[in-house]
Symmetry: C2
Subunit: 360 residues, 2 copies
């Protein structure tokens, strides 16, 4: 079986070892005589899976006991509404830092539910960079950022420091677990799983416990963080298979040496492609400013649309998948999440070089 070079932006490549393990035990999980998908979410066997996923994430990200790990559904998009529903009361203002399409969407959903303020934005310069300064509103409920911007290929390389009474909330959907972060700098971190954590269908939320008291009673139960925390994400049937896959991916990350080791590996992968761009004498043009470059999504263009089309077409024939840029900005994008092996990046760099030799 030939596996392709998968550079999909999400759902994205999963570790082959994880898929093999899932395949092996798909009809008989842990000697239960059932698939993990057939286990009751109230069974001891499933409990173990569920708890293992939470515990492993806590270990890998060094999450203090003052935080809860929740498993929700609906992706980051549902969090865009859940955050203000829980934490944007009347009289307070939700502050948003705009660094791309996803943060715009987060702002828009909050605007339906309360008062908002744009604390910073790089929209005017095509989201090629990360804001260098912030202007918070009065009475800020929180500051919301998107840590990595899949579409534009930018990433907060360091995070804003706020006064301790302003909660920092980060959508880390596309770079969670790709590098160590100091959890205590954040009040909430959330992430759809389908980039670095597993298949789509589960959303991980890391939330400071002391915030939970603020969750109002009268909001929908399924958007109430306090109820999820109280029920250990088992208020209703969770997406059990997605959480199982998450637990396997987390095990794999631990086997790779943990998040610090993964960061080094990711750096190597990213540098390889960025160097290929930088040494191409303008044949490949990176989209992001150098100091804002994402280690997860490398965005670039070729000189003309024809050349870009030829590149994508020949790359596809050569077994590279997912290299077309987002429909919003076009061009090319290589998404190189945790599970994309260095070999795929080496193959891509080689392909880029030989394509350049052919067409320059």
């Amino acid at each position: 079986m030939k596996r392709v070079y998968n550079f999909n932006a999400g759902p994205a490549a999963l570790p082959k070892e994880v898929l093999k393990r899932a395949q092996q035990e798909l009809l008989d999980f842990d000697a239960t005589g059932m698939s993990v998908m057939e286990l009751s979410h109230r069974s001891n066997e499933y409990e173990k899976v569920h708890n293992k996923a939470a515990t492993r994430l806590k270990e890998l990200l060094d999450i203090p006991d003052s935080y809860d790990v929740l498993f929700m559904q609906g992706g980051a998009s549902l969090q865009f509404s859940a955050i203000p529903m829980n934490f944007l009361p009347k009289g307070k203002i939700g502050n948003y830092s705009l660094t791309g399409s996803w943060s715009e969407k987060a702002l828009k959903e909050a605007g339906k539910l309360g008062d908002t303020h744009i604390a910073s934005s790089t929209k005017e310069t095509g989201y090629m960079s990360i804001p260098s300064h912030l202007e918070l509103s009065d009475a800020p409920a929180y500051l919301h950022i998107t840590s990595n911007n899949t579409i534009f290929g930018t990433q907060w390389r360091s995070f804003p420091s706020l006064s301790p009474d302003v909660p920092l909330i980060a959508d880390m959907s596309s770079d969670i677990l790709s590098r160590p972060v100091n959890i205590e700098d954040f009040s909430i971190i959330y992430a759809g799983a389908q980039k670095n954590l597993g298949p789509s269908g589960v959303t991980v939320v890391i939330i400071k416990k002391e915030l939970l008291e603020q969750c109002p009673e009268n909001i929908p139960t399924m958007l109430n963080y306090r109820i999820f925390a109280k029920n250990r994400s088992l208020y209703n049937t969770p997406p059990t298979f997605s959480i199982y896959m998450l637990s396997l991916v987390l095990e794999w990350v631990a086997e790779q040496g943990g998040v610090a080791a993964i960061e080094k590996y990711n750096q190597k992968k990213a540098e390889l492609i960025y160097e290929t761009i930088d040494q191409s004498e303008g044949f490949y043009i990176g989209h992001a400013q150098k100091d804002a470059r994402s280690h997860m999504n490398v965005t670039f263009n070729l000189a003309t649309e024809e050349l870009t089309a030829a590149f994508l077409s020949e790359a596809s024939e050569a077994g590279f998948v997912g290299l077309a840029g987002h429909r919003m900005i076009g061009g090319c994008r290589a998404s190189i999440y945790n599970a994309v092996p260095l070999e795929s990046c080496e193959a891509l760099a080689e392909f880029m070089n030989s394509f350049r030799t052919k067409y320059r």
Copy 2:
């Protein structure tokens, strides 16, 4: 590999053929060189899966073109909020028929968002039956029912007929696809997948298109049926693997001869266990009134708690899984959804008879 007799209430048994197929192609779906979990949700390959699931459901349930099929997340529990958010405007009253714990929860969520009315209830008699008459409020926005009650083991054997201006909304989480229904009797049918449709993590919504115009602009995007319909459930990343499994389960149902054939098969399974109860001379005591008996969840008790405990313990040793009743009512419950084979029911009936011989 020995598979157990799986009577779980959900997540529940899946067809062995479906699991085998998923296992076979887990690392290489349809010659893509990727797992189906690794496909972009914007790829042609995934589009095919997504559309196949919707098309097959339309065929199997004979869904007219005037309805949309949506794939959402969050289970029935999130629908409990989405329904009133979209369809319970000020000045109208959400009518609820209470037949168990799930309909109570649906009512409670609606009560946070608008005015509600209990149109009928069998709560006072321990939810052993289905209401025989309804009293709708003035200005009813809709009538909401739960077609099958997993905890109490009751099922609407026929549905209430309403005047055409009152939309009928049904939570069919635990009996969708178990019997033919006339879709046009309903304005909305929704169902979490984890009983008859596949693994947990996807919620199917069948909705009359003309209703979509009513969905307000200012509600969370992820709870807006109109936006889901407009984007064919691809507004954000759907739970792709769950939808893939759904498509396989639907294919399996078609191979069994469709929903009419499944209904006959289910009837046979249910009759076998109910007969075992009825012929036990009071050794087994059915919970539901005979005319309200569910063909999906058979609930019963034994004379004493000690005997029930012995039954559950010996059943477990004999390879039966999931027979303990819900913690709310105790006793025993055999959930016999579509994918539970007749052989499992035969084995259970046999076990029940020999247990009775031993202990009576």
